[in-house]
Symmetry: C2
Subunit: 373 residues, 2 copies
Amino acid sequence: MFSMGDEENLSIKKNDSSTVSAKSIVQKKLEELGMKFCEEIDRGVFPTIQMKSRSTSNIFYSPKYKQYILGDSKVTRSSRNIAHLRPFAQMVWTAYFVHELIKQKKTSTLRDVYYSAQAYDIFFKDQSESDNIITDLETVIEHPRESFNVFPEERSAVFGDLTIEYTVPGYEGRRMNLSSHPDGVMIGPALTDARFIKTSADKVIVIEKGAMFTRFVEEKVYERFNAILIHTAGQAPRSTRYFIRRLNRELGLPVYIFSDGDPWGMHIAMVIISGSANAAHLRELTTPDAKWAGVWASDIIDYKLPSEKLSEIDIKRLKELKNDPRYEDRHWQKQIDLFMKIKKKCELEAFSRYGLTHIVDKYLPERLKELGA
Amino acid sequence: MFSMGDEENLSIKKNDSSTVSAKSIVQKKLEELGMKFCEEIDRGVFPTIQMKSRSTSNIFYSPKYKQYILGDSKVTRSSRNIAHLRPFAQMVWTAYFVHELIKQKKTSTLRDVYYSAQAYDIFFKDQSESDNIITDLETVIEHPRESFNVFPEERSAVFGDLTIEYTVPGYEGRRMNLSSHPDGVMIGPALTDARFIKTSADKVIVIEKGAMFTRFVEEKVYERFNAILIHTAGQAPRSTRYFIRRLNRELGLPVYIFSDGDPWGMHIAMVIISGSANAAHLRELTTPDAKWAGVWASDIIDYKLPSEKLSEIDIKRLKELKNDPRYEDRHWQKQIDLFMKIKKKCELEAFSRYGLTHIVDKYLPERLKELGA
């Protein structure tokens, strides 16, 4: 899972076992790192570690990858340097700890790693110090922390016709269809590591709001539009972004994102598409081909939607997005300008103004057609 | 579902169809309300509506029910009174709308109801006005809004050996076992309305944190301790509190709640047990027999847990809890005093200080034994 992969080799891989072999790649990389330290000690030299710099001066936007990436500037951490000794030791322990997680097939969270360190007499002054070391390790190993079993606390849900096969202990080989439970099943470690077996879906629809997710399930959007539905519950957690990418890359499904019609909703869509500057050292958390499907500023006018006035903070945020390189595309720029002009925003639920099923009966088919689905 | 029931008739009801018949009771009550208005109009009198007052002067703590309840003071809303006309009309529409929801087997949310009103030219000046009318309707009908299909946006998850049978459209009669997906399945409208068919569990363990929920699944707590596991994701949403109550009442399972060792964690446990003053007009959202299983202030000492200093806000909150009638029990009082004395707080994850599985291998069995499980 969470394989870094070759950037040139991103064609559709159907039902292969990429998620499992990728985990063994991470395990191997961690072991090579340990070997390197041992050999250095054997040779009588102080162990060092080199990684790409994550300072803001080394973060650039790449139009090719449609995301932030790190430049060529590097930092070296040496156990010889007394100022480096503490973070160096912390990273060695963290690498050991996550290697144990993989070996024992256990998962953990950032918070848990912070406390677990104390069991080994490794002390972090607070969680931000341990979080930072884990990001260092992501940079060195070139895989997201989920691939060494450190998962986020938040979860979101999925519903649709996709049969998966578990690889987690106690469930190996067991299959489930993701339409088994109409309230949706959680996207957690088990689903992240599952193999994709079979689907009749030809698209993925991502929804920010739980109310709309439930509406879409009730109105059988999965059947009427052959879609896998994903509920992000606001800003999509990393494992959900990774799951969306897998649906897009491994199954070749186009992805359409519906979020509130305001700068915050736009950014929920954008982070799924292009990721965040914080994850400039990773590629596995973006879906550059995903499409922002609404609510657009122009929808507020075209669909005569109930709206609210933009607040000062909304306007400030729109100005920031206007100059954000991820928003350089003409459609996004046009919509930002229109939000500014009409000074209005609108939620997904606003379609209920024309009846509960209006969003599914009218807006959804029109928008999917418009986007060439 | 969400039947108000007779307070004296709360014995264990195994696998009956109470959830379905209760929904038809709500439907009938709504129809009777409409009939009453029609008859009044036929008789040439202005329709009125009477309900218990929800003003703070009419909210009392009941040691018998272990929750806040409303007193005998009543308010009358008359369509004759020009000042009452607006909320009266709003309530008539809301009653009509939720009756349609039940008839059409659709669900909605508070936000959705607010927007839907505009489709009928009924206007609320903001969502708090429509939320308030829905609470009025709960008070009149004496059932929580979930029983007329208005659900919260937030969700939490469940995992364990419990076979349920769906009653929602398209899924009628289909069964699922809640241990099918190791990440947990969402607690939404479909699960709320499901029948309980079969379980091998003899207890329910409720966990505030996702990290611990995942740990408990990975360490097979459901098998080792015959437990159904519930993840509340912080303060338990209403449908989750209702689901916990059903497990306790219909299946006779004792409930143990694990939350962070601080006033906020205590209150997560307390709201599951005794509810909130906001829901004083309802009985279906509490589980008076549920037990707060930790983290106690005494655990910080007894288990030598890593802790943080209480903040000013924590101390202020503890003082409030100290005088809250729901906290009158001796054990809670003792723990509040001890938190104040040691001036420390502690999270569930702190047990990882002794290794990832310490909480499951040592703390959990010791605590369950202590509580007589």
